[in-house]
Point group: C2
Chain length 324, copies 2
Amino acid sequence: MPSLDLPAIRAAHERIRPFIKRTPVFTNEAIDAACGAHLFFKGENLQMAGAFKSRGACNAVFSLTDAEAANGVVTHSSGNHAAALARAAQLRGITAHIVMPANAPQSKVQNVGSYGGWITFCEPTLTAREEACARVAAQTGATLVHPFDDLRVAAGQGTAAVEFMEDAPGLDFILCPVGGGGLLCGTAVAAKALHPGIRVIGVEPALADDVAQSFRAGRRISIPTPATIADGLRTNCTGEKNFPIIQRYVDDIITVSEEGIVAAMRELWERLHLIIEPSAAVPYAAIMEKKLDVRGRRAGVILTGGNLDLGTLPWLKADGKQSA
Amino acid sequence: MPSLDLPAIRAAHERIRPFIKRTPVFTNEAIDAACGAHLFFKGENLQMAGAFKSRGACNAVFSLTDAEAANGVVTHSSGNHAAALARAAQLRGITAHIVMPANAPQSKVQNVGSYGGWITFCEPTLTAREEACARVAAQTGATLVHPFDDLRVAAGQGTAAVEFMEDAPGLDFILCPVGGGGLLCGTAVAAKALHPGIRVIGVEPALADDVAQSFRAGRRISIPTPATIADGLRTNCTGEKNFPIIQRYVDDIITVSEEGIVAAMRELWERLHLIIEPSAAVPYAAIMEKKLDVRGRRAGVILTGGNLDLGTLPWLKADGKQSA
């Protein structure tokens, strides 16, 4: 098995460099004035396929031997990992089998299709998705590339932190949202290796606080599928491989409210002029809600993705008027 | 009087460098595939105060002698120039008097106020604005910094094209939206001096086609205040100083429909994950509507600004549902 350490992340970075963007880091005077801190935002919403997931997916796909690759890859995801894996497979010239729930939004189905992914629809339950995924793997010999519980994926995600710490030196904090924990693991391992004094903070919606609960309890805790607006973070339980890494390298897991996520998203849209999806606003919500004291410090926030349906916006009520 | 040539634009660039950002250039595989061209987007929506207007305003303010500066500056504008001038004046430590119509949106009033601008309200007519502006100038001795008909302003706006042509070499076309023509003049002079073979294209909403009409007629034509959604381009007539420069250096002025502007804005939001205001989508609308044949060519588009009210979006109808 591959291990997750800085050399693995550096090797991933070399491997994926031709296929990803080195995304820019943004700062904003008005945000800094409001927070009394120096904030740096890593724009992974501008990454290929619109999310950091392209990093992990490319590392997994380009880590395969030719014999493994010949049978393709398979995953179950209706979100950014699905599109990123389809794109990575297309770049390598192999097949990506994507298991999606039959009720997935049309825009996400089209997104996977635009990268040539082969879609298998299933019932919208975790059990049905895992069963369909196992069946496709058995029939095709495709290699499973799990959305988060895969150390090649986590190593790829960690490359964002390597770039971030080069482009925004001397960070006191680095914050990222937590779904299954792949980004958090990669970020924590890279950041602590490069700058041991940094504090690594994962942020979750309070409605999807499985990792926060697990972190406090010292064991993996599973929750029912969460209803948070942050659709990229609706995981039931962090990965088996990820959890010990989180326990070892992460300083804290903080939770934020749904209202806080919407307010943070809107403020980042207005101030930074960047389109980010709700999941990407979760860490800044922790700063806005004063769940973390960053005053006078340098804090880095990974803006994880920018994919969402522009036909509705969370601060607009159904009547098209602005909500309070 | 200052003249508008490449040395003036280079001098402006040196003068304003500490106060502006060198904005990034974006490309997108899916957009290129859809257009059959190589498109480059200069992200002036990420400029200080959210628009290229910071360039011209800073050049004008920092060109003043100390004696001139002591009396402050004055302009009439309810948009991006007002905020940019207030910011530039604040940076120099002088007063900016901003004449705004009494019905200006609250967000724009707040924006000017946030940079310490002194606001004078007047009736919402061009005559009332000009009279109020002249009165403030007479009372205070403030120097008028016109939003577009000022060659120091145009020289500042031209610095965006200098950066753009360095960062995206070998452009066959450069496109920008046209309101009063300050950006177009600066862009055309810089682009033709640096790369004489480039074609410089101004794009206007068909509802606000005063410069297109003037360009065809060979004389400045004035139109009633246009109702276009592109609120930054609602000018009645191009400037006296600008028009001969446009006649000499600009290859064509193209017009686009309101529907085209909204469609282009939405496509750029979705593909580039950048928030741009309607005016900034106007040049890309010309490409989407096939008003300009860029197939197989390299075309640069200046994304001029990102300031808009996020409480409503032009593709959402009043009932909050998506329009067709």
